[in-house]
Amino acid sequence: MTDREILSLFRSGSREQAFAELVERYSEALYRHVRPMVGSHEDTDDLLQEVFIKVWKGLPSFREESGLFTWMWRIATNEALSFLRKAAVRSALRFESLDERAERLVDSDPWFDGDEAQRKLAKAVAALPEKQRAVFCMRYFEELSFEQIADITGTTVGALKASYHFASEKIRKNVVLED
């Protein structure tokens, strides 16, 4: 079922069925979108619930100015950024730097099974400022185009390219990136 068909199903009155289709189609992909940004399985799970609650509440007024994918990714990215901002405040209150927080998150994560190089990458990503982290994850892990990321974030392609460049430079100090 395409996104357009799901929307038609929703507007025809079969709302729960249409929503179930969206969950089936996008829940795992959204998990993979949020997880590298947030770094914790439990936090990702919490955020996904918030995302889909907002999707359910927002569907009646969804105007199709962007596609469903872009809209849902925008909701998820904003939820993740909001979460990361609050987490940064909590870390600051503990006098913990971004690097220290990144180390702690990755080393204590029971659901990370990458090799040493991937562990270094995960820590380097977790140490990035939140917006740079979001852009890097979308470009590097999800391989979205800058145009797609621009639609999701509402930022210009030029600004995104610059952000990605700076994020990559920081990460390359510790890790070899696959281009």
Binding site: R15, E16, F19, A20, V23, E24, S27, E28, Y31, R32, R35, P36, H41, D45, L48, Q49, F52, I53, W56, K57, D109, W111, F112, D113, G114, D115, A117, Q118, R119, L121, A122, Y140, F141, V175, V176, L177, E178
Partner: protein, 125 residues
């Protein structure tokens, strides 16, 4: 380095996630119905007001009449007290005190002499 997703999940996690997310519409709807019931209950009065009995005219005016009578009595008593205090004789002042006052108030010597002359004539009568 491999560009792959290095994060794992508990076994069966995504199936359980889809089931849980699929319950969102039902859960939110139940919450809305509960909120609507709470609001309806809050708008109803706690008790029904009793219908008021119609009282006779005099009974309704009695408090105001009592208030007016109290005010009238207070005015009469006040007037009585004030009138008694004004009829008391003014404490007479000696000539010296009067002259001293007149001098302090800038009265001229001729005016003082005129006063004294008048006063003496009055006393003689």
């Amino acid at each position: 380095m491999r560009k792959e997703f290095s994060y794992t999940t508990p076994e069966g996690y995504f199936d359980e996630l889809r089931t849980r997310l699929g319950r969102i519409p039902a859960v939110l709807q139940a919450q809305e119905e509960e909120n609507a019931q709470s609001q309806t209950a809050a708008q109803q009065p706690v008790f029904e007001p009793q219908p008021r009995e119609r009282r006779p005219v005099f009974a309704r005016l009695a408090p105001y009449i009592a208030l007016a009578a109290t005010f009238l009595v207070a005015v009469v008593i006040g007037n009585f007290i004030l009138s008694r205090s004004t009829r008391q004789d003014v404490v007479s002042s000696s000539d010296e005190e009067i002259i001293e006052y007149l001098i302090e108030s800038g009265t001229t010597v001729s005016q003082i002499e005129e006063y004294l002359s008048y006063n003496n004539n009055t006393n003689d009568q």
